[in-house]
Symmetry: C2
Subunit: 380 residues, 2 copies
């Protein structure tokens, strides 16, 4: 069943005979499975194919609007919730202010309420919900969906996020991952589906990366891969970081660090948003600091390029909205520092999905799961 | 066919009925395929299983000694050639002096001669050769087996290593990869088969790494992944590197760099081997320099740990033979610098296969290929 569905997910309509040929299954098996898929609504008849004679065969297509997915991108101060179809096309979405420090029960109850409002707003039912994908600003044990050692999230360590949210959402499956992993997945699947090696770097209050290698997210042994924020910057200034070490990337190049420097220089700023606003208002110091932050990011990313040889580095997060200064600093150092073989085809770009990479990734994670052999039983 | 063979590669003998059950194939299909595998010698009958009544069924086992593999680990100044069975057990091996600067035709003709001598010495025939696995100290385009932009190998850029060697070795398939990728594969499969995330770092005249993520070698977009040697060391001394940049890891911590420093300090050394000999003779300066080289390696590896979250880092190459000083320096910095989540289960060890990781990896690469669905036709 999942095999047929995976073929149809490419949006190309096919006849039963084509599906039998492509899967290697007997025609009778394909016919029986198609009955189930048609009854579930996941596949729809789409008219008739051209025929060489006799009655023209019916063509069938995947029907992404047959179910909905809720995607939740939780940040320290904001949450974005989106309702999408099974092809991760956003139907409706909303950005709300929260405080992650309120703990998992308060935040997730709030998230569940927003989700139910958005489902109603999109004219759909909770019973049509295929699953919920959640990104958290923390390392996550992907198998259990529990945050591990979150640095900024009191009360969240080891919390059963998936179990609690499932209870609030009518029993729909809930999958949880690190927020930047989901941003990488969302950007990759939406904008760079043919690229096998991609790094997504989120530059906001903190700094983190999602690592796509050979086409899949790589989480590492404890789910901690991509933890760029506390890497020592080669040649970086010896600024003390809140982690206790000195010269960490986050202490030099994060939105928090730049805001603090601007404040000290007489241009008050308390957030990444303030930094972006100052750059847009042509504050020269803000632009200079942003370019230098780009160079510090570049010093660390040059190491990642040598180690992983990616084709694309995507810069996302709120600081990426500040224009070309950050990117110029990154490019200057990466292209100057890395070996030619690794950079001759390397592209360094800003996120094309901007604030939506996280919810696109959350939706993609759920669609991949519920349309797979293991997950399909929850839909049929 | 390959499915049955993959099951039997775990060395557990099985009956036809067990194989039918495990593969889901019809008993008649299994029986027909077993005939072909028995005729090829790749599988052998191993006596009779216990039976619940009637004639006891025959059990069958993979027969790794039915073919041989030649594994070739080419370095700048030495080549190691090994003859192994299909389970990568070394039958005979030899280390010979070469000069990579003689170019591909001279070096590979020499390699082919050594290989044929070793095949004769092990009492086997060229016709029993399943394939040849070659490691080169260069980035390699894995699909075509050609070295790309090799920094120290005049005449090798784009050379058809696989095609040339196949011609000298009776048409046996030849697979080529970067030498450190093969060391990582050999160490992983032989000593850490249950570990999914492993870095193998070769510290010798130069420095490079092989990257195992989610159980497989990751080569990156151009096959250049693991190129550690020219990464800028955070907090490293601004020594000028032969690549033109300053502060590269190789300029600080390679065998060549340490030998040059020892010479300048009055302890003449011209190679990694000389450095190892000085450490073993209790030369205090050599030990101190080796520990500081370990710290420089640790500064770069701490970044790799944050980025990739491996479970095991294996230190190999000739400098790893100098004892605990190098490892102590690496551990000191990595455990001090990385975040607790990424290091709580991290092991940093010296290679257990020592000089043989490369040939073990070359043999494993060939066995994986010729026993796979795509490669099996060359054996049967």
């Amino acid at each position: 069943m999942a095999g047929i569905l995976q073929l149809l997910r490419d949006r190309q309509p096919r006849t039963r005979a084509e599906l039998a040929q492509m899967t290697g299954l007997a025609r009778s098996t394909v016919a029986a499975r198609m009955e189930v898929l048609l009854a579930s609504g996941l596949v729809s008849p789409l008219g008739e194919a051209l025929s060489t004679g006799g009655r023209p065969p019916t063509v069938f297509a995947f029907n992404p609007s047959s179910r909905i997915i809720a995607a939740v991108d939780v940040g320290a101060t904001h949450v974005r919730v989106a309702i999408t179809d099974l092809a991760s096309t956003i139907i409706v979405d909303r950005l709300e202010t929260i405080s992650i420090e309120d703990g998992p029960e308060a935040v997730l109850t709030n998230v569940a309420g927003i989700t139910q409002e958005l489902i109603a707003q999109s004219g759909r039912q909770l019973s049509e919900l295929a699953g919920v994908g959640v990104g958290l600003p923390s390392p996550v044990d992907h198998a259990t969906g529990r945050p591990m050692n979150p640095p900024i999230m009191p009360g969240w360590d080891g919390a059963d996020v998936a179990g609690f949210l499932t209870g609030l959402m009518g029993g729909a499956p809930v999958l949880v991952d690190n927020d930047v992993n989901l941003m990488a997945l969302g950007e990759h699947r939406t904008e760079f589906p043919d690229i096998d090696h991609l790094l997504f770097v989120k530059v906001a209050t903190g700094i983190g990366a999602g690592v796509i290698i050979d086409g899949a997210i790589r989480r590492g042994a404890q789910g901690a891969a991509g933890d760029l924020g506390h890497i020592a910057v080669p040649g970086g200034r010896p600024v003390i970081c809140r982690c206790g070490n000195t010269g960490c990337l986050e202490a030099l190049a994060s939105g928090r660090a730049i805001a603090a420097e601007l404040t000290a220089l007489g241009s008050p700023a308390s957030s990444s948003g303030d930094v972006v606003a100052l750059v847009r208002s042509a504050d020269v110091r803000a632009s200079q600091l942003l370019r230098e932050a780009g160079r510090d990011l570049g010093r660390v990313l040059a190491t990642c390029v040598s180690m992983l040889n990616p084709s694309v580095i995507v810069i996302g997060g709120q600081m990426a909205e500040a224009g070309e200064h950050l990117l110029a600093g990154i490019r200057e150092v990466v292209y100057g520092r890395s070996l030619p073989l690794a950079t001759q085809h390397l592209r360094i770009v800003t996120s094309r999905t901007m604030g939506h990479a996280g919810v696109l990734g959350g939706s993609t994670m759920v669609a991949d799961h519920v349309l797979s052999r293991e997950g399909l039983s929850s839909l049929i």
